[in-house]
């Protein structure tokens, strides 16, 4: 996995900022994100609700809700800056080079179109297949994602399938044109536990088969620790810590990551122990504190934390963190 670093990254996001238009002016909800995804890598993104992780992903495809816009930054994917592309070019990339799996398979499929018609769409618009060829290919795709019956299920409507089946259809749709990047935005959240495991397995099967790179957004750090190569932790529109899955899970340096991990129910941690919770709520993007956004909730808060936000600085190896205390500790360690 470490050998991937030397290659040109598949996706390089630099200083991504997303702003929301409000009556009183613009509010930044993503405040400068740097991300790198190497080919064949699985990047996990974790964070609380509203931390800007989904918005960042949507912005890559240019499908932000109208009130939101990318205010600055670049996202170089396969050599082109996604934010500088025309809509028509983006439309070509979407679904062909970048696949996207959304969290809610119940509502993400058009209820009045057959599965086949919906599966055929990317094939027809990107691969240029005719109606019949697309239909046949769609049948093969269904088999590929483990829906028995294949072509015979194509004329079903979404409501005739279970949640797990629908998510399989979503996956089939996103990989129909053999993209190089798959963005999975909490693909298992809405599913029950056994189905979750099946879907995770399915995505990894497919990743192996096609050599996909994956960005997996989740709030479930435990899940990410098992499937991701690297993990980026989001808090209030920023990355607060980033590193390999092992680094993040076993030796987190940022107090927020630490708190996240200690709030995780882990089977072998022993019974009867109360889980730790993080007091307080994440800040309102419009009223972020001047200093570190996590400072108000931080147990290791110091005076400087309230003055200016810490930068995301490299720590040991691939790890980066944004915390004055952690920086000091790292420096001490080096010294």
């Amino acid at each position: 996995m470490t050998d991937a670093i030397s290659k040109t990254p598949l996706l390089a996001v630099r200083d991504l900022r997303v702003a929301r238009q409000t009556e009183t002016g613009e509010v930044e909800i993503v405040t400068g994100i740097d991300l790198t995804l190497n080919e064949g890598e699985v990047l996990g993104i974790v964070g609380e609700s509203g931390c800007g992780k989904s918005v960042s992903m949507l912005s890559l495809l240019g499908i932000l809700p109208p009130a939101l816009r990318v205010s600055s930054g670049s996202a170089v994917f396969e050599g082109e800056d996604l934010f500088a592309q025309e809509e028509s070019r983006l439309a070509k990339l979407r679904g062909s080079r970048i696949g996207f799996v959304f969290q809610d398979p119940m509502t993400s499929l058009n209820p009045v179109m057959t599965i086949g018609a919906q599966l055929s769409e990317p094939l027809r618009y990107h691969a240029g297949l005719g109606r019949k060829e697309a239909w046949a290919e769609a049948g093969r795709l269904l088999l590929l994602v483990g829906i028995p019956g294949g072509e015979s299920r194509l004329s079903s409507y979404p409501h005739q399938l279970s949640g797990g089946m629908r998510q399989r259809v979503m996956i089939a749709m996103s990989i129909a044109c053999r993209p190089s990047l798959l963005i999975a935005d909490e693909p298992t959240t809405a599913l029950d536990v056994t189905t979750q495991a099946q879907i995770v397995d399915l995505i990894f099967d497919i990743r192996r088969q096609f050599g996909l790179s994956v960005i997996w957004v989740s709030h479930d750090l435990a899940l990410l620790s098992q499937i991701a190569d690297r993990i980026a932790v989001f808090y209030s529109g920023r990355i607060v810590e980033e590193g390999t899955a092992e680094q993040i899970c076993s030796a987190p340096v940022h107090p927020y990551t630490q708190a996240l991990i200690s709030s995780m129910p882990v089977a072998n941690r022993g019974e009867g122990r109360r889980l730790k919770t993080i007091d307080g709520l994440p800040p309102d993007p419009a009223r972020r504190p001047v200093g570190c956004a996590f400072a108000p909730r931080c147990e290791r808060r110091e005076a400087r934390c309230l003055v200016a936000p810490p930068a995301l600085l490299p720590m040991d190896g691939e790890r980066r963190a944004a915390c004055f205390v952690a920086h000091d500790e790292a420096r001490e360690l080096v010294r």
């Binding site: 929301r20 009556e23 909800i29 609380e48 609700s49 509203g50 931390c51 992780k53 989904s54 918005v55 992903m57 809700p65 009130a67 939101l68 969290q103 809610d104 935005d185 909490e186 959240t189 957004v217 709030h219 309102d284 993007p285 419009a286």
Partner: protein, 323 residues
């Protein structure tokens, strides 16, 4: 929570912090941001003030005839001009506003109470009662409304007017010979007859959906008393669609009243009604266009205002994505 819903909570920072009782405030905040709806509210408030206080503030009574100025255009004495009997058009428009708003208000109240009771009974009791009431709504809604109104009005006016007069002769109460009272009660009755099924169906649907809603089941499971359940859960949740329906209903009731009075059914002169004023204006519009334009505009503006508010309420009470 998910990325999607997180955006909702960011859009509405207040929502998360509001207690359930804040639903109304929350909706009001959303409504206040809707400029058209606010414009509509301002217009309605203006009309309302005009209808309530106008007749006292006007220098003229709507029936008063200034025979020195007949069919005159707008002038300092008569701001909007006068009609063929020298009556001040402004005073008549204001008087018409009173008629229209009285009709809108009472008709909606009447048809809503009939409809709400019928619908609630239908929804709660179910079975044969439900089927009978729903069948009645079907039957009422199947008859073309204008036809129904004309038949009812031509046939009931004589009977009702006779009864009222007998009542006057017996009691001496001048209310029973008041023509406006008679006309208005007929208009209320007939329009309410057309409109109650809509409310009944809405109410029934609300009752059914709430009866099966999880939060009500939960409340029952918690052993909350029925009155609390109704006050805290059923009413606030049923209120949204009902308020929207009523606000649209107010507008359509007014339009109905004016089309009936255009046809000569409804409030009789000299009590002013916009529909009748439009009908009179139509006949002379070539020579005195203001007699047509002014009442037509008065009607159009308030109708639009009600539609704006209805739309705004719809958006405010049923925000998109609030599933």
């Amino acid at each position: 929570m998910t990325g999607q819903s997180s955006m909702t909570s960011q859009t509405e920072p207040d929502t998360a912090k509001q207690a359930p009782a804040g639903l109304g405030r929350d909706a009001w905040l959303r409504l206040r941001r809707n400029r058209l709806a606010m414009l509509g509210l301002v217009i309605i408030a203006f009309y309302l003030c005009a209808a309530i206080f106008g007749p006292w503030l006007m220098p003229y009574d709507f029936a008063q005839q200034d025979l020195a100025h007949v069919n005159s255009g707008p002038s300092p004495i008569h701001w909007l001009g006068t009609d063929n009997l020298g009556r001040d058009l402004f005073a008549r428009i204001v008087g018409g506003a009173r008629t229209a708003l009285i009709v809108a208000f009472f008709v909606t109240m009447l048809s809503f109470s009939i409809g709400a009771i019928a619908g609630a009974v239908s929804g709660f009791v179910g079975g044969m009662t439900d089927r009978t009431i729903m069948w009645l709504t079907d039957v009422t809604m199947a008859v073309p409304s204008l036809l129904l109104v004309v038949v009812i009005n031509t046939s009931l006016t004589p009977l009702l007017s006779g009864w009222m007069e007998d009542l006057f002769l017996k009691t001496g109460n001048p209310m029973f010979r008041d023509t406006t009272f008679l006309d208005l009660s007929l208009v209320f009755g007939t329009i309410a007859l057309i409109k109650w099924p809509q409310y009944a169906r809405l109410m029934r649907a609300q009752v059914l959906s709430i009866r099966n809603a999880n939060y009500v089941t939960a409340a029952i499971a918690l052993g909350l008393p029925p009155t609390t359940i109704i006050r805290s859960f059923v009413v606030p949740n049923a209120l949204g669609p009902v308020i929207v329906a009523v606000s649209f209903g107010l507008g359509t009731a007014m339009v109905l009243e004016s089309s009936f009075s255009f046809l000569g059914i409804g409030v009789q002169p000299p009590t002013p009604s916009w529909g009748r004023m439009i009908a009179d204006g139509m006949r002379v519009w070539g020579a005195y266009p203001h007699l047509l334009i002014v009442p037509a505009l008065a009607l159009a503006i308030i109708t639009m205002a009600f539609a704006f508010v209805g739309d705004g309420l719809n958006d405010a009470l049923n925000p998109k994505g609030k599933k």
